[in-house]
């Protein structure tokens, strides 16, 4: 049963199991500091496909297949797939699952898509609408560049606040019961659907700044709804504010006398090393999806993390809305994930 607590937090009484997770990434991401902790690193960002869009869907499909396999399931065991990406009409995701024969719900939350899928998936499993489902998200640098910015071979310069769209995909299986028995494992305990917060940011090269106020809104609401302190969690991670947005978020919370810094990380800041020329850090649906479904959930399995807040942040914009002078709103969905038992 889902219970609303405080202002907007949803509490899952049955705490759906996060049965398995998998992350597939591109070469640059594989060369980064987290490289060894992804399930699959491609040498060829084109994934042997004839277009970048197909390459992205292949990457997402790889993550989905791995997650299903790690759960010891077949795709036909899934009651629904919730998947999303950055491409127009979410073609990366539907192409990845078109042959799966599983009911499909396309998601769009920009870089918050993975968190949105997990939060919604938690509700569907908790409410009995699905026994097992899969949430996935992906992005690809090359398919995003051609849609949002310039051709790859065009000689342009990036600003220091610009983020680098990750070539990455993550997938996780949620289940009402753990077929392996027992009640221990990684479970989703709470979710919070964020509201759009728009603070007048119009610079598409500074999305961290556009998203930070939404992360502030969601995280402060979550903490207050739960009556919790940052120290009650092992890790509170946003995805993906980048260096600039992360700094702004910490400053905003500090004004409320909340010090997030001891437990705080950002997927965009974690994914690339300083020498990788990613400017303000990684972004894209796949960035937070892969960092969660790779390193973070591995840390939970290994017992290094026991209680995690995963707060996906998205910038609500399109090239058209930016060209028409519309401001960029931020959104942030959060899920609380816990490791119970031994």
């Amino acid at each position: 049963m889902i219970r609303r607590i405080g202002k907007r937090t949803l509490q899952f009484a049955e705490r759906p199991f996060l049965l398995s997770h998998a992350a597939a990434v591109g070469k640059k991401e594989g060369d980064g500091p987290l490289g060894a902790q992804f399930d699959f690193v491609t040498e060829d960002d084109r994934m042997g496909q004839k277009s970048w869009e197909l390459a992205e869907s292949e990457l997402q499909k790889t993550a989905i297949d791995l997650a299903v396999k790690k759960a010891g399931l077949q795709k036909s065991d899934l009651d629904v797939i919730l998947a999303g990406d950055l491409l127009n009409q979410c073609i990366g995701s539907f192409l990845a699952s078109v042959g799966s024969d599983v009911p499909y719900l396309g998601q769009y939350g920009a870089c918050s898509t993975m968190a949105q899928g997990l939060a919604l998936g938690g509700c569907l499993v908790e409410g009995g609408a699905a026994r097992r489902l899969l949430a996935a998200a992906s992005s690809h640098f090359c398919s995003a560049e051609r849609q949002y910015r310039f051709p790859l071979a065009y000689g342009g310069q990036r600003t220091p606040t610009a983020q680098w769209t990750a070539t990455a995909a993550g997938a996780a299986v949620l289940s009402a019961a753990d077929p392996r028995g027992g009640s221990s494992g990684i479970r989703v305990t709470h979710a919070l659907f964020g509201r759009m917060v728009e603070m007048g940011v119009k610079d598409a090269n500074n999305m961290g700044a556009a998203m930070a106020p939404a992360a502030y809104d969601t995280l402060s609401t979550l903490l207050s709804d739960l009556g919790a302190q940052p120290a009650d969690f092992d890790c509170i991670v946003t995805g993906d504010l980048g260096h600039v947005g992360a700094d702004i978020l910490l400053t905003l919370l500090r004004e409320d006398k909340i010090d997030l810094s001891p437990v705080y990380s950002d997927c965009g800041s974690l994914l690339f090393g300083d020498e990788q020329d990613a400017h303000a850090g990684g972004s894209g649906c796949g960035c937070s999806a892969a960092v969660l479904c790779g390193p973070l959930l591995r840390d939970m399995e290994g017992g290094r993390l026991r209680r995690l807040v995963f707060a996906g942040t998205g910038a609500m914009m399109s090239p058209t809305s930016v060209q028409q002078g519309q401001p960029i709103a931020g959104i942030c969905h959060a899920v609380v994930i816990e490791r119970s038992g031994a």
Binding site: A153, Y154, G155, M199
Partner: protein, 150 residues
């Protein structure tokens, strides 16, 4: 805390690092200057092969456009441009890059709706306003009684 848009904009300016303007300008000057020096060398070469100054200028433009296109195809132009900025955009090699890069990128959508339709997606505004300006300039020159061979 209630977020205030004006206050947030102030904070944003403080927290968002600006592009290093002087460094970018200096690099643009050096790279752009280097490209122009190469162009000068090419022009001298064509003149030494017996072309008149005007013909040598046309041959130089053709050569530089070719070099820009070649470096774009080899994915070297964008690596250069990352440092050079305006230094690689302003010379004619940058124009070649602006045409060739969409041609490469949108090949996957086909020759008509991909390459054909998107070829001028970056250079289009330059052509539209460049040609418009030249028409205005020509009209002004005509009305003011100037003219002659241009």
């Amino acid at each position: 805390m209630k977020l205030d848009k004006q206050k947030y904009q102030q904070m944003l300016e403080q927290k968002s690092p600006n592009s290093p303007l002087w460094k970018d300008c200096l690099k643009a000057f050096l790279f752009g200057g280097a490209i122009c020096t190469v162009g000068e060398g090419v022009s001298n070469f064509w003149q030494s092969r017996g072309l008149e100054t005007a013909d040598a200028a046309a041959a130089t433009a053709i050569t530089m456009v070719f070099l820009g296109a070649l470096l774009t195809c080899l994915h070297l132009y964008e690596k250069l441009a990352k440092h050079a900025g305006a230094g690689t955009i302003v010379p004619i090699t940058g124009f070649a890059n602006a045409i060739v890069s969409p041609a490469m990128e949108f090949k996957s959508e086909g020759l008509v709706l991909g390459v054909g339709a998107k070829l001028f997606v970056i250079a289009g505004p330059v052509l539209v306003y460049g040609i418009s300006a030249s028409v205005l300039y020509g009209l002004a020159l005509l009305l003011m009684g100037g003219g002659g061979a241009g």
